[in-house]
């Protein structure tokens, strides 16, 4: 089973993000970037399936040059190959453009299964997996909490508002995985060393035969949001629990 996993390098989720005031693109300078924590689950899911059924895992990312770090981490975890689509024209790309570019890169590799996270931690439009599936002409089995496979089809436990659905899908397909779907492995020292000699294709938009990618939306204003006022902060002196109960009583919820 050949699996393509889409990954993304994002500003450290624990840092406070900023938009460039003139372009309204995400500022990436001076901000530590990391492999999106949500992507580790997809890489792990891909590795488990490839290990069980044969085949390999290829990681694809669309990012500035720095995105190579995300690919290296995935390669160190066990992926066989990386593809980095990097092009100045893609700065500030919207969800649809991202999906178009990823679809073109994935088609070039060939795939039985494409795995993504449910959304990125920085942009979180949450529609790239679905748009990707539309461009690839395959079903999108989204929000997977568990994946099983016999090699040619998948059984996916899909998160719903009410509980979950059990979904059976014949490959090829796109699957988006939720955080916690598995326990991502740590790269071993051997893995980190091996990653250095694994192949990474570097592609531009022209290499993918795409052009005229025009975003159909524009940020027209950015304003500071109204902030909540902080209330009272007290050190627990043994009476804090009582304060909490009194608070709940005062708000008439108990």
């Amino acid at each position: 089973m050949n699996v393509v996993v889409c990954v993304k390098q994002v500003p450290d989720p624990n840092s406070v993000g900023q938009l460039d005031p003139s372009t309204h693109n995400l500022r990436r300078d001076g901000v530590e970037v990391v492999l999106d924590p949500g992507d580790e689950f997809g890489i792990e899911a891909g590795l488990q399936l490839a290990e069980a059924h044969g085949g390999k895992v290829t990681v694809v990312t669309m990012a500035p040059e720095k995105g190579l770090d995300a690919i290296r981490k995935a390669l160190a975890m066990g992926a066989a190959k990386g593809v980095l689509v990097s092009d100045p024209s893609l700065a500030g790309a919207d969800a649809l453009t991202t999906a178009k570019v990823l679809a073109a890169a994935i088609r070039r590799e060939g795939f039985d299964l494409v795995i993504t996270a449910t959304e990125s931690t920085d942009g979180y439009t949450g529609v790239v997996p679905q748009a990707l599936a539309e461009y690839l002409g395959v079903p999108a089995v989204t929000f997977a909490k568990a994946i099983q496979s016999d090699g040619s089809s998948l059984t996916v436990r899909r998160q719903t508002e009410a509980g979950y659905d059990n979904v059976e899908a014949v490959l090829p397909a796109v699957v988006s995985v939720t955080a916690g779907v598995n326990e991502p492995r740590y790269p071993s020292l051997k893995g980190i060393m091996a990653a250095k000699s694994k192949p990474v294709d570097r592609l531009s938009v022209a290499d993918l035969g795409l052009d005229g990618l025009v975003p159909g939306q524009a940020i027209v204003s950015v304003q500071p949001a109204e902030q909540r006022k902080a209330g009272e902060v007290v050190e627990d002196d043994g009476t804090a629990a009582h304060r909490v109960v009194e608070f709940l009583a005062a708000k008439k919820v108990i």
Partner: protein, 324 residues
């Protein structure tokens, strides 16, 4: 600009439209133009009354039994694309639910028109714009659709209250777009409804959420006990969901659920922006954390600096004592 026609995509659960769709119909009524709903479910016709009651004058109803067994993303996008070609809506609103996200994302790709996600409101002043908040709700962003339509927007649940319009029964227009074979390769073989032991996270008057500060997954049992004593629901920060302590369904925040309870109690949660975007709309916030510098205290009406397990344990004892 004036809108001629606004559509709301309405999923159906147990024969009724889901509440977030009714919220969008309520908002759509004040945008100007004709408000209509698209509903793809064997139960679409029974759901139409409630859609009409919330402002839809027409319901495009697809009642193919296969809609119940397939993932709606592919066939939903096909049906909407065909309908949009025929009726040219200016704007199609989707609630940010799992399935509506699937339909909206595929539809945007199919029509090659932009989709704007995570909306909190939509406006039609000089073009259609979607308001959203970013960086943990520290900044509000307005994004405008450009180029041809329809504009596709995903709006987070609970952005508006659902209110009946007193409108009459809607006109029902059957949708007869065939379901393509390619969408039949994925099928829902079983739908499992979680047995709720208490109120749903999105509806509970008290939400008690846990984070890393709880120290160990098993300490969530303490929050469950607290919640059961007050009729509340238990939520979680992304950090503990990522760590596999609790399921994704419990996640409150940017990539999880938005909750607006009467009281939100953050236990051992530092207050990363990821999280606060999902709970800052609570009427009242209590935070318990050992780190006095934790950002969560900037939002809290009552902040307790202390040992979260000890404080919650004592709260439980006191609540039990009150009840006897």
């Amino acid at each position: 600009m004036a809108l001629d026609r606004v559509w709301v995509f309405a999923e159906v659960l147990d024969g009724q439209p889901i509440t977030p769709a009714l919220e969008l119909l309520t908002r759509a009524r004040s945008l100007g133009g004709t408000v209509e709903a698209v509903c793809l479910s064997p139960e679409a016709e029974s759901a139409a009354a409630a859609l009409g009651d919330h402002g839809a004058t027409t319901v495009y109803a697809g009642t193919d039994p296969a809609y119940a067994d397939l993932l709606l993303g592919g066939p939903g996008a096909d049906a909407l694309a065909a309908l949009a070609g025929e009726h040219s809506p200016d704007l199609i609103l989707f609630p940010t639910t799992y399935t509506s996200r699937d339909v909206a994302g595929r539809l945007a790709a199919k029509l090659d028109v932009p989709v704007i996600s995570n909306g909190l409101d939509v406006s039609v002043d000089g073009g259609i714009s979607v308001e959203s908040s970013i960086f943990g709700a520290s900044q509000n962003v307005s994004t405008r659709f450009e180029g041809r339509g329809p504009a596709i927007a995903l709006i987070r649940p609970k952005s508006f209250a659902a209110e009946p319009s007193g409108g009459g029964a809607p006109r029902i227009v059957p949708v007869e777009v065939p379901i393509a074979d390619q969408h039949r390769s994925a099928r829902v073989v079983e739908r499992v409804i979680d047995k709720a032991t208490g109120p749903k996270l999105e509806e509970a008057p008290i939400v008690i959420s846990g984070g890393r500060g709880l120290g160990d997954p098993k300490n969530f049992a303490l929050l469950e006990e607290f919640a059961s004593l007050v009729g509340g629901a238990v939520g979680a920060s992304r950090a503990v969901v990522d760590a596999g302590w609790v399921p994704y369904a419990m996640q409150v925040g940017q990539t999880g659920k938005t909750v607006k309870p009467t009281v939100y109690i953050a236990c051992g949660i530092s207050g990363a922006m990821q999280h606060t975007v999902g709970m800052k709309g609570a009427k009242n916030i209590v935070a318990i954390n050992k780190d006095a510098e934790a950002p969560i205290f900037k939002l809290a009406d009552l902040g307790i600096v202390g040992d979260v397990l000890k404080v919650v344990g004592q709260v439980i004892e006191e609540l039990k004592a009150r009840q006897t």
